[in-house]
Structures are given as structure tokens and as C-alpha cells.
Point group: C2
Chain length 125, copies 2
């Protein structure tokens, strides 16, 4: 299928995170995954890494990218670049929802915690 | 640099297309490129292909994806999946601007016309 209606995609999530996979391996992709997420105020991704590259487009909200032992604040209309194999965490430091689209250079995305334990993601990717 | 202010990126374009590279090889990426484009009413990309996968997120506007000998109409809040090596063209069939973000599983992106002639893109990717 070449054209996907975004609202047709199933909703999923983790505590404090609403997730939709816009495109991924179920669509025939092998080297691209596209996720749309909303992180609630005070919410965060778990600290994690993956062996593919990631770019995050921040549509609205504010937060911090914790990576490489440093904290990088960001606002809306910004783009985050996350190299492969770098432990990182995205934190919504505000009260408003943090709306973003994350893209990855692999499909499915295989994420692990910093100690190497695989993360069982509750969505298709 | 982990955080990019989108407005800091240079503007580029082709006739009828305004382009910004949000992330790509200049940011250390090798397997991801992220482009934001606005295609004017009646405008279109040239017919082309590339040996990487592409996903297009359509934010607003309406158009057609021409691929595989068929025409697929799309509206806003849709996602287009374009396999590697597939000749394709995106056409704005409306009068309103067609706003999209295109992501690719390579950086830089090396696009060619259907006859194989390389396209000299006027932006960094």
C-alpha cells in the first residue's frame, strides 16, 4: 500500500506515551521506521539505545535530550539527531504534551536498555 | 550537534518547491535524511528514483503519488511509502501548498531520473 491514512493506524503506548507507527516493516520497509508519539507532561522515554540512527522532529512542547552524559534542552520546531548505539532518553520537562515524529534507519527497531536488556515494545515497528 | 533549530537551516528549492534539509550527512548521519518541503499549487517533483527507501508525511494539502504505473491520490494526514528503486513523482493537484516531510534511508540521497541520469540537487542532503 503506497498511501496510508494516519487515522487508520492502531494506537499503542507506554505509561505517559501515546504511540502510532505511521510506517514500518508491516508496510514492506526494511530500513525506515516512522513513529508518531505524544509524551505527556512530566513523561519520558526509558533510557535506551538501538543500533540504527534516529532523527526526532519536535512539533510542539519542550523537553530534554539526555545523551552522551549531557542534557540538551529543546523546544518546538527543532530536530534531534541521535547517532546509532548512543544511550539516550527524551524527557518532557514541561506541562504541555510533547508531540514528535521519530524516524529510524531500520525496521523493525530493536531497542535495548543501557544494560543491554531488550525492550519489549508494545507496538509493531 | 544533537539539537537543530529548524529555522537555522538554509532554504533551497527547485521551481515550485521550497526545501529545507532538517538533518542529513552534514549532521553525521549516514543512513537517514530528513527533508521538509512545500510544493506550490500545480507543482511537482520531477519523476525520479533512488536506491534507498522513502517515507513521506503529508502535513497539509492534497496530491497524487505516481508510482508503478498507477496514480494514488492522497490528502493531508497521510503517509506515503515509496520502495527503493521505484520511479515515482509527487504532484500537488490542488491550489493550496502541499506541505510534507520526506525521510530517506540514506544520506546523502542520490536521485536519478527514470533514464538513470543523476539529478544535481541544489541542496545538501
Amino acid at each position: 500500500m503506497y498511501v496510508i491514512e494516519n487515522h487508520s493506524r492502531p494506537a499503542a503506548g507506554l505509561p505517559g506515551i501515546r504511540h502510532t507507527t505511521l510506517a514500518g516493516s508491516d508496510d514492506g520497509l526494511r530500513n525506515l521506521s516512522v513513529w508518531r508519539q505524544t509524551i505527556d507532561g512530566g513523561g519520558a522515554t526509558p533510557p535506551h539505545r538501538h543500533d540504527c540512527e534516529e532523527v526526532v522532529m519536535v512539533d510542539s512542547g519542550r523537553g530534554e535530550l539526555r545523551i552522551g552524559g549531557a542534557v540538551h534542552a529543546f523546544g518546538p520546531d527543532t530536530t534531534l539527531v541521535i547517532p546509532a548505539n548512543a544511550d539516550h532518553q527524551i524527557v518532557n520537562t514541561g506541562e504541555a504534551p510533547l508531540r514528535l515524529v521519530a524516524v529510524f534507519s531500520a525496521s523493525p527497531v530493536e531497542a535495548v536498555f543501557p544494560d543491554g536488556t531488550p525492550i519489549a515494545l508494545p507496538w509493531r515497528s
